[in-house]
């Protein structure tokens, strides 16, 4: 039989099926939309009804006004009455993350997600850009030696109860008991309902003070709910502190003390972390500008806390948070105009696409207060202990090319001094900068340094050390961070071209800290100097010389931070400088110390910074107006909690809904 025996029924059936299915989907969509629209219409009708009520009331007011006018005309005066304006939408839309299922328990391992800054108040906010404090829960405070006296604002929890000293004290002890932090607080006592005295073991250094006063942990445990655990928390905290103090003093901790602590801690932890406020109480009690109204996996709705001290000036009644399940989902929401602000990292072409939505879509780049990508060396590998090789590595790398494929909107680095580029002028003098070596891309210079140090290039084009070993190492990058992976590939490519045998290896998801902690890398892409939380160079240098970078790179283990280095001011030890910086209160002296650290870091290349990470913040002026100017220091509050910027802008009414 010929191939013309094409069955009509299957063909018809197929077309019919496809058409029916597509029609069904569209119909369902339309009906669903219609249904939602009907619900919205119902809502609108209700608003109209309310509006009608307003109009009626207004007409009544006008009537009374006219009556009064009539009366006053005879008396010679005419009172003026305001006619209420129609309401404009006061809904602010952002994207965020929260654990699901959601309990609203701040002590659960995954915490409260995006509610952290929107729902809970720290004592203060600290603006790194101008090093100033914005009082939040603390209306006033005074530090005298080791005692911090805090006067609390008059404000309430979203359940209407006033925030008191008991709440703050409960928050402090719960944190000490469950997180073993901050043990530096010896005790917290109530002077009156609005005054707390926090006593430290010794006068707190600026870093400690900043981390305690800017964290909302003091607001996590309203006494009315968590007070039932307070006595046990104090007991566990006391035991834990005793152990901690003994460890600091180098004493052996008695086994029975440790056993008692472990048992009491485990019992408290299991009870508190199993507590589900949302399920048990039907409400998550918080004292922030917004409180949790409803939460699903894909969206969270927050409402204005009417008892908050800024409720009267707040410009948004509702904050809607869409789940940040992936960057792709957030990009889609931005492009569709569904978000008022968000901060996903985007490649250049996508940024252009988002900004092309309309003239009201803007982008502000703020410093994320960290350098990344940065190359951290593992000094346990003898290769990297040669300063000449490190110099050659930085000179043979065109850092602007790496910048182009990562944070393309940021300026390129010339130095490697450890002070964030956007704060360079604030901390480093021109005189100091003139003394520093500029590590601009210069392959010829890199070659001459290597040759002068005894390196040779083999016939295979690979450099060899003075003792004949090939310069061969791996450059690791964390696989889920695609900007780090791209950076590693570009860096490796350039180094390979120059003559280093570099292989990129990827660190699988979830094991980065394991790999780094175990020193299972030669060189790795990481954050370099990071000023999170403090916005101060101390944070960056502490990280390099005694913190995470110092630990994983072997700087601490090998004593590289306590060795002496030649500087124009004589021989100096980086760790001593970092410790001095932690305690120095005078700004001019702080700058001197920072300059010395900058010199050592730049000249001895303990790590290789590429670019200062910029946080691109997309914001739309379609629905909200009053966004700060690009150079407003408030933007520097973004890193570590962009929601704080929203709280400031919405709470003070700086950001206003566009009317009409």
């Amino acid at each position: 039989m010929s191939g013309k025996n094409t069955p009509e029924i299957p063909k018809t059936l197929t077309y019919l099926l496809v058409a029916v299915l597509v029609l069904q989907l569209v119909l369902i969509g339309q009906v669903a939309s219609l249904s939602s629209s009907l619900a919205a219409v119902e809502g609108r009708l209700r608003s109209v009804e309310e509006g009608t009520g307003v109009v009626t009331a207004t007409l009544r007011d006008i009537g009374r006004f006219l009556e009064a006018l009539g009366t006053n005309l005879t008396a010679g005066t005419a009172p003026v009455k305001q006619i209420p304006k129609p309401a404009v939408p006061r809904e602010f839309r952002i994207a965020g993350w929260w654990p699901w299922p959601y309990s609203g328990n701040p002590y659960a391992p995954d915490g409260v997600g995006v509610l952290y800054w929107l729902g809970y108040e720290p004592l203060v906010y600290f603006i790194p850009g101008n090093q100033t404090y914005i009082p939040r829960l603390a209306e006033e405070w005074k530090l005298e030696g080791a005692k911090l006296t805090v006067r609390l604002r008059m404000t309430t929890w979203n359940d209407g109860r006033p925030v008191t000293a008991d709440d703050v004290i409960t928050g402090i002890y719960m944190a000490q008991a469950l997180w073993s932090w901050p043990y530096e607080i010896k005790n917290a006592t109530k002077v009156d309902d609005r005054t707390v005295v926090i006593e430290f073991e010794e006068p707190p250094d600026p870093a400690l003070l900043a981390s305690i006063t800017t964290s909302p942990f003091v607001s996590f445990a309203p006494y009315s709910i968590y007070g039932k655990w307070l006595d046990r928390a104090k007991e566990v905290a006391t035991l834990g502190r005793r152990i901690w103090l003994m460890q600091i003093a180098g004493q052996t901790v008695p086994e029975d003390l440790r056993k008692e602590y472990n048992e009491k801690f485990a019992a408290l932890r299991d009870e508190v972390t199993a507590f589900d406020p949302l399920k048990t109480l039907g409400i998550v009690v918080s004292n922030g500008l917004y409180y949790l109204s409803s939460v699903e996996n894909d969206k969270m709705v927050l409402k204005l806390n009417k008892g908050h001290w800024q409720a009267g000036t707040a410009s948004a009644d509702t904050v809607i948070v869409y789940r940040w399940s992936s960057n792709e989902a957030v990009w889609a929401l931005l492009m569709a105009g569904e978000l008022d602000a968000s901060h996903p990292v985007t490649p250049k072409d996508l940024t252009d696409q988002i900004l092309s939505i309309g003239p009201k879509m803007k982008m502000q780049v703020v410093s994320d207060l960290a350098e990344t990508p940065a190359v951290v060396f593992n000094f346990r590998n003898p290769l990297f202990r040669d300063i000449n090789l490190r110099k050659a590595l930085i000179l043979s790398l065109d850092r602007s090319k790496v910048r182009d494929i990562t944070f393309w909107f940021q300026p390129a680095y010339e130095y490697a001094h450890g002070v964030l580029l956007s704060f360079q002028d604030a901390w480093l003098s021109r005189d100091l900068l003139n003394r520093l070596t500029k590590w601009s891309y210069d392959r010829a210079r890199a070659e001459s340094i290597l040759k002068a140090a005894g390196y040779t290039k083999g016939s295979d084009g690979i450099w060899r050390t003075p003792d004949g070993k090939p310069v061969k190492f791996t450059l690791s990058a964390y696989a889920p961070y695609n900007d780090w992976v791209l950076a590693a590939k570009e860096i490796a490519r350039q180094w390979k071209e120059f003559g280093f045998d570099v292989e990129v290896t990827l660190v699988p998801d979830g094991v980065l800290s394991n790999v780094e902690q175990a020193g299972q890398f030669d060189a790795i892409i990481e954050f370099g100097s990071a000023w999170w939380g403090l916005g101060h160079p101390y944070a960056g240098y502490s990280r390099i010389y005694e913190g995470w970078v110092g630990t994983i790179s072997g700087i601490v283990e090998l004593g590289l931070n306590t060795a002496e280095y030649d500087t124009p001011w004589g021989k100096l030890k980086p760790l001593d400088l970092v410790r001095a910086l932690a305690l120095e209160k005078d700004l001019a002296k702080q700058k001197e110390i920072v300059e010395r650290l900058a010199y050592i870091t730049n000249e001895y290349l303990f790590y290789l910074p590429i670019v200062e990470k910029g946080l691109p913040i997309f914001y739309s002026e379609s629905r909200w107006t009053g966004w700060p100017a690009p150079n407003d220091p408030l933007w520097t509050l973004c890193p570590g909690g962009i929601e704080r910027v929203y709280v400031v802008l919405l709470g003070s009414g700086i950001l206003k809904p566009v009317s009409g």
């Binding site: 809502g43 789940r323 992936s326 800290s513």
Partner: protein
């Protein structure tokens, strides 16, 4: 022995194999997850370190304490505890959520099942029909177009298709919602607006999953149909002048559906695996997203529980199809 007794023997044999498959698969899953590098406390430690400006060792101690994770228990002890729990019908415990894994999974599993069932029906119905059509049109333009399109679609990972569907149909054409489970303002419950909204919001993930599988069904149906079309009984049917519809329904479709049907369980399993990325693109609250998070956080209890559900679901689906097979294919029944 009667047919029924033979069938019972057959079913019992399949049941024993099912138990063996499930046991083997779950053992593999358990050891693969538990031997994964990574300590559940590490991710949390990094979070504490950055949030509270702590040294890593302190943050790690805090994290271990918060999770109550006992690193000292050997993996074989944990395996035996796992088997004991399974026999009691318990799935496991989530380190991060501090509650039974079943409670956590119960919130997300229905959403994934909804998408997978709809996607399976859509892709199977349309894909097989198109495949049979392509077989009849073999060598012609229609066959080439369908075949090429199917090959291209099959080579694209579900994640890419999900992104294309989201941007093309959601952002640009505004035909589907941009993600989520249902519209804002709709009250969840047994009410029409909610149910319609749920179906509406499932469109994106359903389309993304269905488009991937549709190509697979198309190619399977086409290839099987081409073989059957070459059989003598089909040619005889054509020669007898049987109507084309009858030919397809009685001569081609009956034998063609059997090998295709056996792929149903595999297809379901494949879609389940792909749901992780599809759900994160569409912000869909399914088990895929839950699994991705559990693995990232090294919440072993939750991750193993989710895999347990997946393994059991896929093997059960396969088992049911195997039970149906003799009823559908007289040749197997006879044997």
């Amino acid at each position: 022995m009667s047919d029924f007794k033979y069938y019972l023997r057959y079913a019992f044999g399949k049941l024993l194999m099912l138990i063996a498959y499930i046991f083997t698969a779950l053992t593999l899953v358990f050891f693969v997850i538990n031997l994964m590098p990574g300590d559940p406390a590490y991710s949390l430690a990094v979070y504490y370190m950055q949030t509270y400006n702590l040294k890593f060792e302190q943050a790690l101690e805090m994290a271990r304490a918060a999770l109550g994770y006992d690193v000292s228990k050997p993996v074989y002890v944990r395996y035996l505890e796992y088997l004991a729990r399974l026999t009691r019908g318990e799935l496991g415990y989530s380190l991060y959520y501090r509650k039974p894994a079943a409670e956590v999974i119960a919130l997300s599993l229905p959403w994934t099942l909804l998408v997978l069932i709809l996607a399976t029906i859509l892709s199977y119905t349309v894909g097989t029909r198109l495949g049979v059509f392509a077989a009849f049109k073999r060598g012609k333009a229609a066959d080439s177009v369908l075949y090429s399109a199917a090959i291209v679609m099959l080579s694209l990972p579900p994640f890419i298709i999900a992104v294309i569907v989201l941007y093309a149909l959601g952002v640009n054409l505004k035909l589907i919602p941009l993600g989520g489970a249902y519209a804002l303002g709709v009250k969840p419950g047994l009410n029409l607006p909610f149910l319609l909204s749920v179906l509406h919001y499932a469109t994106g993930p359903v389309l993304a999953q269905a488009l991937v599988q549709l190509s697979g069904w198309l190619l399977s149906a086409r290839n099987v149909s081409v073989t059957i079309l070459a059989e003598d009984f089909v040619k005889y049917g054509m020669a007898r002048g049987l109507k084309r519809g009858t030919l397809t329904k009685k001569y081609i479709w009956k034998p063609a559906r059997l090998p295709i049907l056996t792929s149903l369980a595999l297809s379901f399993g494949y879609m389940l695996g792909g749901s992780t990325l599809v759900e994160s693109v569409f912000r869909y609250p399914g088990i895929g997203q839950q699994l991705a998070q559990a693995l990232s956080l090294r919440d072993f209890g939750l991750a193993i529980s989710i895999f347990t559900i997946m393994v059991v679901a896929v093997t059960l689906a396969s088992f049911l199809i195997e039970l149906l097979y003799p009823l559908l294919d007289p040749r197997v029944k006879g044997a």
